[in-house]
């Protein structure tokens, strides 16, 4: 087992009344698996992911439970150790490609940041690796993109850059926090295909967070459904979509817009 989350509870204490956003979440992720995390907005799926990535601040909130990675509890291990894992073993892709890149730094510099921090490679070697990575994420003309700023790229290209910088240290776990929500459908398909290819060639385990059920169905092997900070249902993608046990899951699946054959546009509307 690569990653094991046991009884995770997250409680905010920045207001007078404490607010529980995640309660008793258990999940496991084995090597080379794609795990889908579905739920509506505010169901705690992003919070869970942030906790796994070690992104939650250490004050103003209470966290209990265990997040075990390679036998280490990420919730309690010293910051130095966490830093070694971040970027090297666990990486994240965010939802909004417009804000997830630093506007004043060049693409090449940003993509190579994790290498600069985790390896002793010289600048030449880093540049070579970055260029190779930019090519792997299918960016046209990597040499050109290397010297460009984020505002010169389109949303889809930025998300590719994000994937490149997340994957550059060949992490074992990639957390994709709604990576395609801000993109249009064709780009969505390309990005998902790209993630899938990384999964196949490098055996990266992916924790894929989304509220797009059809996307989850095509991509994931196992699915966890969350609602109001709790896990509602767990199972393989087939089970969940064919025979949902919980009412909430049924509702979610019914809410998928369907394009039925033979029906005209007018009827659907």
């Amino acid at each position: 087992m690569l990653l094991e989350v046991k009884d995770l509870n997250i409680e905010f204490h920045d207001h007078l009344i404490p607010e529980t956003v995640v309660s008793d979440v258990d999940l496991t992720l084995s090597e080379g698996e794609i795990l889908g995390l579905v739920g509506e907005s505010g169901s705690g799926k992003s919070m869970t992911a942030h906790a796994i990535a070690g992104l939650l601040s250490r004050h103003d909130m209470k966290k209990t439970g265990e997040i075990l990675f390679d036998g280490k509890n990420l919730l309690t291990c010293p910051r130095e150790e966490l830093r070694k894992i971040q970027g090297n073993d666990i990486s994240v892709i965010f939802q909004e490609p417009m804000t997830s890149l630093n506007p004043v730094k060049k693409i090449g510099w940003q993509t190579g940041e994790a290498l600069r921090l985790h390896t002793d490679l010289g600048p030449e070697e880093i540049k070579r690796k970055v260029l190779k990575m930019l090519e792997l994420v299918e960016l046209p003309d990597p040499e050109l993109v290397y010297g460009q700023y984020p505002h010169e790229l389109s949303g889809g290209m930025r998300q590719r850059v994000m994937i490149a910088s997340a994957m550059i240290c060949e992490p074992k776990i990639l957390i994709a926090d709604e990576p395609t929500t801000a993109l249009d459908v064709t780009i969505q398909a390309q990005i998902t295909a790209l993630l899938k290819r990384f999964h196949e060639t490098r055996h990266t385990a992916i924790l894929f967070i989304s509220h797009d059920l059809s996307l989850i169905r095509t991509l994931c092997e196992r699915v966890i459904v969350m609602r109001q900070g709790r896990v509602v249902e767990t199972g393989t993608a087939e089970e969940i979509f064919r025979q949902p046990k919980e009412d909430y899951t049924k509702l979610l699946i019914e809410a998928i817009p369907k394009c039925e054959r033979g029906k005209s546009m007018r009827e659907i509307l």
Binding site: L55, G87, V92, F94, T99, N102, V104, L117, H118, M162
Partner: protein, 263 residues
């Protein structure tokens, strides 16, 4: 077609001219700025003395050149102290928040509550006057306003995704603060540096006018302005020329900061 930024252009030209004059003043002045000449006492504008002479017969133009240098040094030193410490404090409080923020910002509030001139006055009367004391005194008085601006920017930036992804790459806090975030707030910092510069010029003049700033053998615009006051009617060019120079210096910088805000 992009609209031309006249503020920046005009401010740049004025500041450029002033900079050239100031730099010249360090190396060359047409007359010795401290040489007194009883024959030319309060003589008017002429070809030899293009700004006339003061009450001791010293060439005003030479003294203005020298004074620009002093004023400029004081203003730069003040802004430098204010920016460096202000940025450090603002970065730490804004980025970390929590207890550090509370404690440091309350100290800053206390400093902020005093008018900067009053604070400098207290400092100078405790440690003595002179160019370097004025710089330190005004510098300390300028720290709170800079730290407030920087803190606000850091609080805004620390929640952004690119900061999160920098943290995720395993970057340390210091690296995130000064390598990832700092370049993003340069534009804000730059315009406040320019405004700070203007305030420093005025504050220096104010302190010197009160007689606790730069000491007489050192010429500074404020010091000249205060002695010109006595001769406002018998030798109006004295006050006009020194005051005009100061106005140009400030105008150039404010136009530039306005222009930078627009671009």
């Amino acid at each position: 077609m992009k609209k031309r930024n006249y503020n920046l252009l005009l401010g740049g030209i004025i500041t450029g001219i002033m900079m050239v004059l100031t730099l010249t003043g360090f190396f060359y002045t047409p007359f010795d700025p401290e040489k007194m000449d009883a024959a030319n006492k309060l003589s008017g504008i002429s070809l030899t003395h293009i700004m006339g002479c003061d009450n001791f017969g010293r060439d005003i133009f030479s003294r203005v050149l020298k004074g620009c240098g002093t004023t400029f040094t004081v203003a730069c030193g003040t802004v430098l102290i204010g920016t460096v410490f202000g940025t450090l404090i603002g970065a730490f409080t804004g980025y970390f928040g929590g207890l550090v923020d509370e404690v440091l910002m309350r100290i800053m509030d206390a400093l902020f509550a005093f008018p900067s001139l009053l604070l400098a006055l207290v400092f100078v009367s405790l440690f003595g006057s002179g160019k370097y004391h004025v710089i330190i005194a005004l510098g300390i008085a300028f720290v709170p306003s800079f730290s407030r601006i920087v803190r606000g920017e850091y609080m805004r930036c620390r929640e952004l995704d690119y900061v999160k992804s920098a943290r995720l790459s395993g970057a340390s806090h210091l690296r995130i603060m000064f390598v990832h975030i700092l370049p993003n707030i340069f534009t804000v910092l730059l315009s406040s540096v320019m405004i700070g510069f203007n305030n420093a010029v005025l504050a220096e003049a104010g302190l010197t006018y009160l007689g606790i700033g730069v000491r007489p053998p050192d010429a500074s615009l404020g010091e000249m302005l205060s002695s010109a006051q006595t001769y406002l009617f018998s030798a109006p060019w004295y006050a006009l020329c020194t005051g005009g120079t100061m106005i140009l210096m400030i105008l150039g910088f404010s136009l530039m900061s306005e222009g930078l805000k627009k671009s």
